[in-house]
């Protein structure tokens, strides 16, 4: 559906190289830290920037030379970029008017979207009278209104607080599924990427590091950096692995690899983190810091000594 | 430290005690730098000049501030405004000892409150290149013909002093009714009206890229063209049209303003202005003739003509009718009314 073919984007001191494809109806997350070039990838796809080399394909068509308005993609900006001089409904209708839809059809489509987003009460308001979550929904409705083939979202939830984010994340997933739209979004938050997307592509310093289904990427991170970036806490250097009696390295201990209770490894529970339903415990074993998470009932008390086993089936070797 | 103060304090005092004389002039006033410096050196009086705009504006500013005069001396009242100045009673009488040296025909104020300093003539200049092989207009009747009217640029008498002088020349020569008919003909012929001398001369005159080879200016202008060509011209590129009555005499006066606190210094200034060195400095600075009989003229003034038969009107007549003439002129030239209409409305 959307493909970056050997795309290169250059800035002074930075270069993005990307060769990637998104299938029809798929939701892809471009995951990476800030400055990794993931936003540029999105802007190039939308036509807001021109690649220095390579081509962009949309539905099999080479659109590299087309300006943004002729690509038919939807774009949700990080700061939403709502038109401050237009009301909510006028913002949503903007793209439909540009495409020359009939009045009645515009009214229908706008009404439908506002209803789905729960924005009916705000139809006549100007953007600066809305809350952050409402603005985000207007931006989404506006981008979706012309029924784009591809929806591009630049950190769509980045500017919102945690609780709102969780709610909107589910909402966004529902909307993306409901509209059956091909979607690519950019985020630096792995939870967001995992929850929303069917496929995650991890970008670092302008290079695609790894891609795949969220579960696959999480369980088989390609290298140490990716493992850490995805939230793995037990990433062991070869000498640490050797100290624990493991072979090879670097190694990642996936969740569930540590079994407190019995075993050869002596450890001490150094720090206790209470999360509510679960607790996290930092353990010290043979000079290596290890992290365990689980229900409070199973957790070792703070300062207690304990014995550990490591499940070899939950250990994966990664590239340094 | 204290010693230094003891030296400085009297110094500061003596500086602030130096008498300052304030002179209100029109913006065309000019004298050489060293001439002014010599006055300040000789008398110990510091001169401060204030420019009040054109001759009319300057006088009006003096009249407006009658109660609390903005200056001690006013220079630049001309004979078209003399009566207004005298009627306003803003001047003090001063019979300068220099009076014996002045040409008596310019002593237009018998009360000796306004003393003549210089004089000149407003007349029509023509572009010699343009009129090479073509006949010049020889009379008011000629000028009123469309073929000449469309060659002429004049100044609006309501806003310009040469413009007013030229209007007065037509009144003096053609009479109360005749002048309006003349202006009606000029209007129909396409005369160009500029707001002031600079616009008429530098924007409309053919010598500076305009389309009018005839322009109302001064009879000294041809001489100034030679002087300011820096050697390029040995003969003036322009000439004056001087049929009897075609020029108008302008005399400029100096006067001591009523209420001055520097009467003695003001007298010294007036005496100095009428002294030989200053009178001889005047021509090349202001392009007018000095009123002093024994003042020598610069060489280039041989190209400046003094008409034998300038138009004449007494200051009283001018004072009484000036506003009416201007508004009648405007009615005909600006608002396009007919001369008959304006004349019949007088009664």
């Amino acid at each position: 559906m959307l493909a970056w073919r050997n795309v290169v984007v250059r800035y002074p001191g930075f270069e993005l190289r990307l060769d990637l494809e998104v299938a029809r109806g798929e939701t892809l997350a471009l995951l990476g830290p800030s400055g990794s070039g993931k936003s540029s990838a999105l802007r190039v796809a939308a036509g807001l920037e021109r690649p220095s080399a390579g081509r962009i394909f949309l539905g099999g068509r080479d659109v590299t030379d087309l300006p943004p308005e002729r690509r038919g993609v939807g774009f949700v900006f990080q700061d939403y970029a709502l038109f401050p001089h237009l009301t909510v409904e006028k913002n949503v209708a903007f793209g439909l008017e540009e495409r020359g839809w009939e009045r009645a059809r515009i009214r229908r489509r706008v009404g439908e979207l506002l209803a789905r987003m729960g924005l009916e009460a705000h139809a006549r308001k100007k953007p600066d009278q809305l809350s952050g979550g409402e603005r985000q929904r207007v931006a989404l409705a506006r981008a979706l209104a012309p029924e784009p083939e591809v929806l591009l979202l630049d950190e769509p939830l980045g500017a919102l607080d945690l609780r709102l984010r969780e709610r909107l994340m589910l909402e966004l997933r529902r909307v993306l599924e409901g509209e059956k739209v091909t979607a690519v979004f950019v985020t630096h938050d792995q939870t967001e990427a995992f929850v929303l997307s069917q496929r995650v592509a991890i970008v670092k310093n302008g290079r695609l590091m790894q891609q795949g289904a969220p579960e696959a990427v999480f369980e088989w991170p390609a290298d140490v950096w990716t493992a850490r970036f995805l939230g793995h806490k037990n990433v062991l250097a070869p000498e640490e692995a050797a100290a624990l009696g493991l072979v090879g390295g670097p190694l990642v201990l996936l969740p569930g690899a540590l079994r407190p209770g019995a075993g050869e490894i002596e450890a001490r529970a150094a720090e206790w983190l209470f999360y509510g339903p679960r607790v996290g415990v930092w353990l010290e074993a043979r000079g290596v810091r290890l992290y365990w998470e689980g229900p409070a009932a199973e957790a070792p008390a703070e300062g207690a000594s304990l014995r550990l086993t490591i499940d070899p089936a939950r250990v994966v070797e990664v590239r340094p | 430290m204290l010693k230094k103060l003891l030296i400085i304090v009297p110094l500061v005092f003596s500086l602030s005690l130096a008498e300052t004389l304030t002179v209100l002039t029109h913006s065309s006033f000019a004298l050489s730098k060293d001439v002014i410096a010599s006055f300040e050196q000789e008398t110990g009086i510091k001169l401060r000049f204030i420019e009040g705009g054109d001759a009319g504006e300057t006088l009006n500013k003096a009249i407006l501030s009658k109660g609390a005069p903005i200056a001690d001396v006013i220079y630049g009242i001309d004979n078209t405004f003399l009566s207004r100045a005298l009627a306003a009673g803003i001047l003090e009488r001063y019979s300068t000892p220099a009076i014996a040296q002045l040409q008596s025909r310019f002593l237009l104020d018998p009360t000796l409150t306004a003393l003549p300093v210089d004089y000149g003539y407003v007349a029509i200049n023509y572009d010699k290149d343009y009129f090479k092989g073509k006949p010049l207009p020889q009379s008011w009747d000629d000028l009123a013909k469309p073929e000449y009217a469309k060659l002429l640029a004049i100044e609006n008498p309501a806003t310009s002093s040469p413009g007013l002088a030229f209007l007065l020349a037509t009144v003096a020569s053609l009479g109360e009714d005749g002048y309006l008919k003349f202006w009606q003909a000029l209007r129909d012929g396409g005369v160009k009206v500029a707001p002031g001398w600079s616009e008429a001369y530098f924007a409309h005159f053919t010598r500076y890229g305009g389309d009018r080879p005839l322009v109302v200016s001064y009879t000294t202008s041809p001489a100034a063209e030679v002087y300011f060509s820096e050697g390029r011209y040995s003969q003036p590129p322009t000439g004056n049209l001087l049929w009897p009555g075609a020029s108008f005499l302008q005399v400029e006066f100096v006067g001591i303003l009523k209420g001055t606190k520097h009467r003695a210094a003001a007298e010294k200034f007036v005496d100095w202005l009428l002294s030989k060195p200053v009178q001889e400095d005047i021509p090349l600075n202001m392009w007018v003739w000095p009123v002093r009989r024994d003042a020598a003229l610069p060489d280039v003034f041989k190209f400046a003509e003094r008409p034998l038969h300038p138009a004449e009107l007494s200051p009283e007549t001018i004072a009484k009718n000036r506003e009416r003439w201007i508004s009648e002129w405007e009615a005909v030239v600006v608002r396009g009314q007919s001369a008959e209409e304006v004349i019949s409305r007088r009664k």
Partner: protein
């Protein structure tokens, strides 16, 4: 005490001294004449009608040309900044010089070959030439922050022109209205240009005020005319303020305009430069004239610039430049704090102050000049009065530029600083001022321009030793002779370069809003 209170008092005190009292004296002298007498006079009614037509026509024309130019100038392309700076130069040139240029271009023997003199068209050309640059700056300043919105419009299917039409133009409507409003104010009350270019037929009300006051001392008629003129201008300003409030939208902080690369950048340059070359042709003819004597190429005018001062009343070029810069600096020293206080007061909530800031633009300079004479004879031709007059004219423009930038500041910043323990003064010093710095530069440039252009100078009795570049130009044009003429043209070029340089240098940091 609210932070706006001292600012309000300062501005009010200044206005009382510099405006209300002197003007009140003039009007007070002539109230008995009555408005009815003016409105009954068909000639004066005609003047009013023409003044209105000239003001309205000029506004429309400026908007008509500003829109396509803004379309191009909102991009960055080679030479763009220089072109924008250039467009402000005419704003500061003396009327006589611009009029001479216009006549040399579109006069009877002009280079254009089409005689527009004594037609309204040459007047409208002059008005466009004077006011277009100012309007461009106002609008471009607002558009600085709309880049993301344009991108949004583009992804929604709007092409470059459509997104300009539907997003940027509505965003800039307030600034465009401001430009049109100021153009109306300047044209409606203009003095020299109609008089010189149109012949006496196209005299404006201000010309009649000048004649009534300074030529005939007719206070009654003048007072009535002043009231009529001020009433019209006040109405326009109220409309302008209303439009500002209705049309103003908050955009993001100014961002650099998007770059137009390669060939398209050069096409944009060619289009704007080509239009400017035509519009400003009267000024190029002046440059040519400074090099051309009656017998062809000549450097006499430029050589004359190096001449030392001969007459006490004919300032040398060096002295004139020095005076121009000195007074500009002095005026800025007064106008900048005053303008800042005014902008700060309005920003922090002193609404009444908003209209007060316009007053200096509404008052006829001629009547104010007479007012000063009546009110402060003791100050006569003093530097205090001169700087006050300069500041009176310069501070509203300074203030409006800064105010626009203030209104774009995120409101949370001041609050954040307050919670960190900074009082209002410290917030101003440590947070707001640093953020406003680019706007302050642009504001200073505009204020400096009106000072260099000497709108204020006519208010005060002049002193020969104060002669600025403008005065020097008039002095040269007051005497016959080719050298005087060429030197005047050379001085006009110097003045234009000086003003353009100030704009380029000071105004670079930010756009006017």
């Amino acid at each position: 005490m609210r932070p706006s209170r001292p600012a309000t008092l300062l501005v009010l005190a200044f206005l009382a001294v510099a405006l209300f009292w002197p003007l009140g004296l003039v009007i007070g002298r002539g109230v008995e004449y009555g408005l009815s007498a003016v409105l009954a006079d068909s000639y004066l009614r005609g003047r009013l009608g023409w003044s209105l037509a000239f003001g309205a026509g000029s506004s429309l024309l400026v908007v008509f040309f500003a829109v396509p130019l803004v379309y191009l100038l909102r991009y960055r392309f080679p030479g763009r900044d220089a072109l924008v700076a250039l467009s402000m130069v005419p704003f500061v040139l003396p009327t006589l010089v611009v009029a001479t240029g216009l006549l040399a271009w579109a006069g009877p023997r002009g280079l254009l070959g089409l005689d527009l003199s004594e037609t309204p068209w040459i007047l409208f050309w002059g008005s466009l030439l004077y006011n277009l640059g100012m309007t461009l700056r106002l609008v471009l300043g607002v558009l600085g922050g709309s880049g993301r919105l344009v991108e949004a419009a583009r992804t929604l299917g709007a092409g470059s022109w459509r997104s300009f039409w539907r997003v940027e133009l509505p965003l800039a409507a307030g600034a465009l209205a401001a430009g049109a409003g100021l153009t109306f104010v300047y044209s409606f009350s203009s003095f020299g240009l109609p008089l010189i270019l149109g012949g006496p037929r196209y005299a404006t009300l201000e010309v009649e005020i000048y004649r009534a006051l300074l030529q005939r001392l007719a206070f009654g008629e003048a007072a009535a005319l002043i009231l009529v003129q001020t009433a019209v201008l006040a109405l326009v300003s109220l409309g302008y303020l209303y439009a500002q409030r209705r049309l103003a939208v908050r955009t993001a902080a100014a961002a650099p305009p998007p770059r137009l690369g390669g060939a398209r950048g050069w096409v944009a340059f060619a289009l704007v430069a080509g239009f400017f070359a035509l519009l400003y042709a009267p000024l190029w003819t002046l440059v040519l004239r400074s090099f051309w004597g009656p017998e062809g190429f000549s450097l006499a005018g430029w050589a004359a610039l190096a001449r030392p001062q001969a007459s006490y009343f004919a300032p040398s070029a060096a002295q004139a430049i020095y005076n121009t810069l000195r007074f500009t600096l002095l005026a800025l020293l007064v106008a900048a704090p005053l303008g800042f206080a005014y902008a700060y007061g309005v920003w922090k909530g002193a609404r009444t102050l908003d209209l007060l800031g316009f007053l200096p633009l509404l008052v006829s300079p001629v009547s104010l000049a007479v007012g000063y004479l009546l009110a402060y004879p003791g100050l006569r031709a003093s530097l205090v009065l001169l700087v006050m007059a300069y500041a009176l004219i310069a501070y509203p423009l300074f203030a409006r530029t800064v105010l626009a930038a203030m209104r774009r500041l995120p409101p949370g910043l001041a609050e954040a600083a307050r919670t960190l323990g900074a009082g209002p003064a410290r917030v101003l010093w440590r947070v707001e001022l640093p953020l406003l710095r680019p706007a302050l530069g642009a504001a200073a440039a505009l204020a400096a321009a009106v000072t260099i252009g000497e709108f204020g100078a006519t208010l005060v009795l002049a002193r020969p030793e104060w002669a600025t570049l403008t005065v020097a130009i008039y002095e040269r044009l007051g005497k016959p002779g080719i050298v005087n003429y060429q030197e005047a043209m050379a001085l006009a070029v110097v003045l234009g370069l000086l003003a353009g340089g100030v704009f380029w240098g000071l105004g670079r940091g930010g756009e006017v809003g």
